[in-house]
Symmetry: C2
Subunit: 346 residues, 2 copies
Amino acid sequence: MDLNERKLQILQAIIADFISTGEPVGSRTLSKNPEIEVSAATIRNEMADLEEMGYLTHPHTSAGRIPSDKAYRLYVDEFMDTSDLPDDRKEAIREKLSETRTELDATIEHAAELLSEMTNLTSFAITPQVNENKLKYIQFLPVDERTVVLMLVSEKGKVLNKAIRLSVPYTEENLELMSKVMTHNYMGKTISSIMARDIIKDFTNDMSSLAGLAKDVAPSFMKTLQKMLDVDLYMNGYTNVFDLPEYSQDPVKSRNFLQLLENKSHLKDVIVNRDEGLVITIGDENSEDMQDVSLITADYKVNGKLVGKLGVIGPKRMKYGEISSVIKYISENISETFEVKGETDD
Amino acid sequence: MDLNERKLQILQAIIADFISTGEPVGSRTLSKNPEIEVSAATIRNEMADLEEMGYLTHPHTSAGRIPSDKAYRLYVDEFMDTSDLPDDRKEAIREKLSETRTELDATIEHAAELLSEMTNLTSFAITPQVNENKLKYIQFLPVDERTVVLMLVSEKGKVLNKAIRLSVPYTEENLELMSKVMTHNYMGKTISSIMARDIIKDFTNDMSSLAGLAKDVAPSFMKTLQKMLDVDLYMNGYTNVFDLPEYSQDPVKSRNFLQLLENKSHLKDVIVNRDEGLVITIGDENSEDMQDVSLITADYKVNGKLVGKLGVIGPKRMKYGEISSVIKYISENISETFEVKGETDD
DNA sequence: TGTTAGCACTCAGGGAGATAGAGTGCTAAC
DNA sequence: GTTAGCACTCTATCTCCCTGAGTGCTAACA
């Protein structure tokens, strides 16, 4: 069987209708569409064909048709409206993002906020992932007699710190020695190479008097290194699903959705591992726990290199075209703002 | 009318029953309770009295009684079981919290996790609020030709940093000069006193050549100072409400609850402003948007001074006694761990 | 041969009515 | 003061029925 012109037209009409209403679409409703000039009976025949081809399903015999994941995929690949955003929206995005153009983190946070406001979905954004990052500074700051702050700075400008409570008070000399040993051992090394070493051994080899201090510091040091490789996740609008009738009327559905969002580390994983560029995954194209939703993500670049991501998660019946345009515009705007030689103009 | 022995007994039984089942309690159900030796008719008379006194209400004529906020208050003040936690729970808490006893932040995070696991409610915890904090170090770290990291360290050991993207490349000298000017102007001053000043003016007065740099740096500096005064909020288990039938069956109820939690800054405000000690607020004792829930919080102390808070939010029919004990034990455990002269013993 | 009108059929959703059951309040007797 | 008994109330649930939206199939039409 062939996906001829008329079948495509009908399929598109069904998808458009279902995306905006969430209700199964029947042949009579469709026949009222001025674009479609055949009768309801003909539409029914076509719909039966489309169902056989896997583009449509029924919730039950006497209900209208709803698009399958395959139909959404076809729609996204072939027919989605990818036209530009209206100027006022572009303006709004530029304005909000330029407020914070001196700070990457705040910009990312704002981007996520914008995204959920403009799409009425749940949005997320992650800070850039840095793989080959090297340690630039290691410093201990004394706080009180038994507390020090360990501060690590990477070449890429990420600064992390951790307050460490020691089991015995430190001495100035010990702390200084510790600083020196660590600087000597680790400065300029990549974070992953440091993490592969036996930290405790490094200390005890070099200076057995540091063993006590090292025992307190080592675990925090390791954890902080790990965090250096980690990304931050911003999320917004997780109660937006309640605006959709199929979620607000079905507690199981909304519960599942929210539980998906509560598992932050899993979500982070999923986002980090998505391809670059504008990526849309629909229903069964996602991992097992996300078969009921669609994700749209895009990446942004900092200095043309470091790659972060942002996007939305929501029901499969989302306005793919419009939302993609918003995500694309926001991510491009961030990339431009944080370009190496970009000149800001105001 | 008097709250005699029998009335109290009946009221207590109703509260206990309603807390565990969530269903209105009728006179016949109560008469089966072996503790209560009067007939259902007598119970009905007493219930009518209790209703008149404001301790009970009806959802409708032919339904059983449910406790009013006033009843919960009486219960919490007078009859709540405040006995100690069972040893295995204490053990579990001690163990989990001791994993991270060198790091305050991680401990607080774990405490919130524990709390939601043990109570099946939504838990939260905030890091200590520091009011009279002074700036200890101010430092700029160069990242690339147009990005620097501003790092601030307070006397209390809080370290914050912010990457700042400059509108024009900085020069080594300018950056150094900036560092010196800021150190000279602000080091050792309290954060609130710095925030009251006109930062931009400080720079231009001292060194007009810094004006360009200052324009980029000043807003980030202010924001970072503000953040110094801010607390961090950890939250866990926000989907736990779905385990309660009255929430999972009522989308409006669960939606309202989750929207309450999504407004993080408001929640932070509420928590920060609660009194010290174990504080329980029930329904209408809360602010307008929280009339339908109860909160239990307690504070923990760091070095016997800095005060942070943690607690839970949930339906009014919560197990006040048990939950209070958990919160109390966790907060005391944190306070002990971070006591000035406390010795850890392993 | 493709299109359409017509018709029988299916099924979910909603409303009406009946019923059960949990509960109340009141009264009269103990 | 306590209790048994009874009439009453109200919700929740079940059934039944109907409506309406939708389908698939068939036969006739262009």
